[in-house]
């Protein structure tokens, strides 16, 4: 009481920066949480939300920035350290040890058992057998256990990173209820979710991150969603070369790819669409609406449980990505970690598909390969100064390599899953132009993107997937961001949906997205 | 082919004597006997001496007519492994265990257990300290002493000797070291390289060759005047020849490959002088015979340490005419080059050369 309290904030962070190799996860993030509030952390995929949470809980060291708790500087050196300081997180990925039973997991974190039981009951899970191995417990229950465990410690600041994404409706409801009840005390909750409706239901304020920077703090009131979305998206994209849209002439031309009633367990529920040569078809969806499964099936990594896929009129059934590639369906993964050989050269990465078939195992025609690779590098304007090891390339160049691989071997149909994630505007433009050029040359492109503003730049047409179903189809001309966003959140027209209906839709979507095979 | 018949009668050595091939005919396999013999050899699978030792044991068991079946454990292992092998033999309810010990003391607990179960235990080739076990061994001290004395004499009592040994800690290796040191003490002008402790080949031909190659490659070979080997002789000779060096006098065992080198049968070993000291692998057969004697209640006279020493080892060089003649006699072409040519011990074994080469025990 002698020292003047400089702040009444519970947790304050400012100027947080973090880079992973060439990837800038956080540039300059700040966050101020008051006691007794539920504070939303918002941002598009890859904005840096999870990274910020990890830094606040000591799971990751920041490169720079200051953090203070109740006005005193405090940097957690490990999650255990943060926990002692009263900061606990439920991370986006489950943090339970799969091979230990629930009880042991609780002992590991020194969680008081009665408290845990109490919160578990509150969260709607009764009679959980604590002797069960975590890996035998359904994912949704794991998430709730994770939450109950965090609540049981009674932390000052509780962070929930997309905790509700994997929960069915009734559990989501209980979770939101429990979180809502935290309001007003001297404890706070930091809540991350992509579901506006949840934000609106429990949060007091929202901090919005964009590309690693805090771009605004908004009081959550009815109608503030639009403002948040606006902040998340940032300024309207600077002038980009208008993609030359060829006139569509689908008459007579056979569709390259026909998908009919495709189902995949609970994730996809009867998806149908057609993709024509010369066309770029966009797919828009929130996280986890079944787009991953759709692309995995088309790329031969996963098998559908029903429905039909036809390529050039012939029904196909892929058992391996090699089958899809032979059928002319090539796949550009969003996660570069899945697509690249990080320790190999640009050349080897690009030339990889050349050699995969057994009869191409023999000597390589270096001249021909070199020419093809060089052509692709030029087409994509890849900076090859660090060509000896792909992992030393910048993120954008790495992404170009994953595309160049298919450009070099000739593309008929390309499946691009968020190909511009985390790359700069110039590179994005190059990729857009490339996709248009490919289409102009007769290729067909199916592209999922989390950056809605891309849609109008590259696509001819767009389908919106929600809860494993195609819920809308728009022409590029009508697919401006607000429209797409609304469609993606399955909000009809400009008006907000009545809350109950929205909750139901969200529940349905979540149930569809419920990944029970994980772990 | 019965080459034994042609060479054997002319061998008139006083100690280790060839039986005439007809001699054991009275002991031709009769109806199966009643005893069960266990045999344990813990290392040297592929080593000619050890292989022949196993074959002589099998052959002796066969011709004795008293053995119902044999359990032959012949594998590479350590002392702990041999302990477990002997315990397996106890559990298999054999009447006698003939074994080549890996260590003079390590096996004692299992040997006590065997005796408690009424099983006779016979150590062959080297001795154990267990008082109840009958040791049947070559006089390894004398073996080493004979060869070393010859070598030092050849060298005129001065110069450097490369000293290669067997398996560290093996009883036979320890005894041979004693004999070597005894001869060394009598020849103060001799210096041992690389050290007084010598180098260990582990009685592994591959290791021996490797050591020899390294030794020659390091240039040290050019500074020595003699080599003593613990039976890894032909490998060293071949290494020297392979390096194109001239030979120095060498001591080896009576392995056929070495005998042939000494005789220069192939014509490639001009200038090689050496001596082959007998180390009969027939100790395996003799061990089985001894075991049966014990089982039949015969008394066996043993000396110090409950040991039956084989007749003093013979040694023949290719310097004296007599030695050359002897080497030519004992060179038995049907024997594998890495087997010792002393495939029998007069009076202590009864099988024929063919039976030994067939390497089949009772019921096999």
């Amino acid at each position: 009481m002698t020292v003047t309290q400089t702040t009444d904030l519970l947790l304050e962070a400012s100027g947080i920066a973090k880079t992973y190799g060439a990837v800038v996860a956080l540039k300059s993030a700040s966050l101020a949480v008051r006691p007794g509030e539920v504070h939303a952390l918002m941002g598009a995929n890859g904005a840096g939300k999870s990274t910020l949470v990890k830094i606040l809980t000591g799971a990751v060291r920041p490169d720079s920035g200051t953090i203070s708790v109740r006005g005193k500087p405090r940097v957690a050196h490990s999650p255990a350290d943060a926990r002692r300081g009263g900061i606990v997180s439920v991370y986006q990925e489950p943090a339970l040890i799969p091979d230990l039973d629930v009880r042991s997991n609780l002992r590991l974190t020194e969680t008081p058992l009665p408290n845990f039981r109490h919160w578990l009951d509150e969260l709607g899970i009764n009679g959980l057998d604590l002797g069960r191995l975590v890996r035998e417990v359904p994912l949704a229950t794991q998430r709730v256990i994770d939450l109950a465990r965090a609540l049981a410690i009674e932390p000052d600041v509780l962070m929930l990173d997309e905790m509700t994404a994997a929960l069915p409706a009734n559990l989501t409801e209980r979770v939101l209820e429990v979180i809502g009840r935290q309001r007003g005390g001297d404890r706070s909750v930091i809540f991350i979710s992509h579901r506006m409706i949840e934000i609106a239901a429990v949060c007091d304020r929202a901090t919005v991150l964009r590309e690693g920077e805090t771009v605004g703090v908004v009081d959550v009131t009815p109608g503030s969603e639009e403002r948040i979305v606006e902040l998340m998206l940032g300024d309207i994209v600077q002038s980009m070369p208008g993609a030359s849209r060829t006139a569509q002439d689908r008459n007579g031309a056979e569709p390259r790819l026909v998908v009919r009633d495709l189902t995949a367990r609970t994730k996809l529920q009867g998806v149908s669409f057609e993709l024509h040569p010369g066309e770029v078809l966009g797919v828009v969806a929130l996280e986890g609406q079944g787009q991953d499964e759709l692309f995995d099936i088309l790329a031969g990594s996963d098998r559908p449980s029903g429905g039909e896929v036809r390529v050039d009129g012939k029904p196909v059934s892929f058992r391996h990505p090699a089958d899809a590639i032979r059928a002319g369906l090539v796949y550009v993964a969003a996660d570069r970690a899945e697509a690249l050989l990080p320790q190999r050269s640009v050349r080897e990465n690009i030339a990889l598909p050349f050699v995969t078939r057994v009869r191409r195992w023999g000597p390589i025609n270096l001249g021909r390969e070199g020419k093809a690779v060089k052509g692709a590098i030029e087409t994509l304007q890849i900076d090859t100064r660090a060509a000896r090891e792909v992992r030393r390339l910048s993120g954008g160049n790495q992404q170009k390599v994953t595309i160049a691989r298919w450009v070099a071997s000739g593309i008929r149909t390309m499946l691009c899953f968020d190909p511009t994630r985390g790359i700069d505007i110039r590179t994005k433009n190059q990729i857009y132009v490339l996709l248009r050029d490919l289409a102009a040359e007769g290729a067909a492109v199916l592209i999922y993107t989390s950056e809605l503003k891309e849609i109008q730049l590259v696509c001819d047409r767009v389908i919106v997937i929600f809860g494993g179903r195609v819920v809308g189809e728009l022409d590029a001309a009508n697919a401006d961001e607000p429209a797409l966003l609304r469609a993606a959140y399955n909000l009809k027209s400009d008006a907000l949906m009545p809350e109950e209906i929205a909750a139901e839709v969200v529940a349905e979507a979540a149930a569809a997205a419920h990944p029970e095979t994980d772990q | 082919s019965t080459p034994a018949a042609t060479t054997a009668p002319s061998v008139a050595a006083p100690s280790v004597v060839a039986p005439s091939s007809g001699a054991p005919s009275d002991a031709a396999p009769s109806a199966a006997g009643s005893y069960k013999i266990g045999f344990s050899n813990p290392l040297g699978v592929g080593n000619g001496f050890r292989e022949e030792q196993l074959c002589t044991a099998k052959a002796q068991a066969l011709v004795s007519g008293q053995v119902e079946s044999g359990t032959w454990i012949h594998r590479n292992t350590d002392a702990q492994g041999q302990l477990s092998d002997i315990r397996d033999l106890i559990a298999a309810d054999v009447d006698a265990i003939v074994f080549n010990p890996l260590d003079p003391e390590a096996l004692n607990p299992a040997l006590d257990e065997a005796q408690a179960a009424g099983i006779k235990t016979i150590a062959i080739d080297a001795a154990v300290t267990d008082p109840e076990t009958v040791n049947l061994s070559n006089d390894q001290v004398d073996y080493a002493y004979k060869g070393a004395s010859w070598l030092f004499e050849q060298m005129g009592g001065t110069g450097r000797v490369w000293y290669t040994r067997g398996i560290p800690g093996h009883p036979a290796d320890t005894d041979r070291d004693e004999g070597f040191k005894k001869a060394l003490a009598e020849n103060p002008g001799i210096e041992v390289v690389p050290s007084a402790e010598g180098v260990h080949t582990n009685w592994d031909p591959a290791t021996a060759t490797q050591l020899a190659n390294d030794f020659i490659a390091s240039g040290e070979y050019d500074n020595i005047q003699g080599i003593w080997t613990s039976g890894m002789d032909s490998q060293v000779v071949d290494a020297i020849k392979g390096a194109g060096k001239s030979f120095v006098p060498i001591v080896g065992a009576d392995l056929r490959a070495f005998v042939e080198q000494l005789l220069n049968v192939s014509g490639d070993y001009e200038g090689l002088t050496g001596i082959a000291v007998y180390n009969p692998a027939a100790v395996g057969g003799a061990g089985v015979k001894l075991a049966l004697q014990l089982l039949n209640g015969e008394t066996v006279a043993t000396g110090e340490n409950n040991t039956v020493l084989l007749p003093a080892p013979e040694a023949w060089d290719n310097v004296s005419e007599e030695g050359k003649a002897k080497l030519a006699e004992i060179n038995e072409p049907s024997i594998d080059p890495l087997y010792p040519v002393s495939w029998y011990i007069e009076g202590l074994t009864d099988y024929t050369l063919e039976q030994m080469l067939a390497c089949k025990g009772p019921g096999e």
Partner: protein
Amino acid sequence: MSQAAPTVDATRAGTFDAIQSALRRNTWTLGLLVFLAILLVFTRLIQPTYGATGIQGLANSVLPLALAATAQAIVVISGGIDLSIGSMMALTSVVAASNMQDQSDLFSVGVVIGVLLLGLLLGAVNGAVIVVTRVPDIVVTLAMAFVWSGCALLVLRTPGGGSAQWLEDLVLGPLGNEWIPKAGVVLVLIVAAIWIPVSRSRFGLSLYAIGSNQLAAFRSGVSVGRTKIFAYMLGGLFSALGGLALTASTGRGTPVPGPYTLLSVAAIVLGGVSLAGGRGGVFGPLIGVVILQLIRTDMTFLKLDPNLATVAQGLILIGVVMLGSLLQQRRSRA
């Protein structure tokens, strides 16, 4: 809107469920026990005299490998692998034998304690090098296998030394009843005395945690590096116990490592420990060791070439792992 029954399937607690889940979790170990029982019956059939002596011999034969397998199991559970166990056993064995020879009982007790501390130290070095250099476990422990066996040769160039009589008596012969081998009792006591408290402690949980999912463990507040070093220290401790067992049963120290490293890997895989870490325990591997030895014994009884036992061990090893991965693949497909 709120439904009556939770959609999430959460089993109710109950003794029946508890037993069931305990059974399910230990299926492999139980299966091994059944297999062992069958093997014992089979042994008795082919060798009607197999009895107390056989059991005594069995216990004495498995002791060193059993301790080695325990060491390996602990390290593998924590997500590593230790290829230096055989060398550590050789080193501790020669240190024990060379210091105990012709010494008083009291002194030899001191030596035993010293050797156990040495084991902890060797393990700590292994673990620390892995944590500090971030070189894969398999490379570091392979290299350390050279180092430790070199050190063993520095201590004793040839087999030698001696063992205190009490130490030999500790593992030799029966305990009261002729069917109860001291070696077996000692083994179970040692393993239980060390492993049960460890596995029940938070540290034991951390071992499983870092083997199961290092990231989740870190986020659960486990100090990954320290736990890893502790795991290797425990491995070193059990290797030292294995070395002492070698000294006790042979009365000597042998500087050349026996076949324990690779056989310990075989034994733990047979015993249900996942090489990926996080799964298994030490009792499965102990049964695995007994099975491996009994197969060899049976081959002796059947008068089969003992080398066929080696073939059988290899085939069992491969077969078990193939079966495991087949089941795994089926489960993930279902």
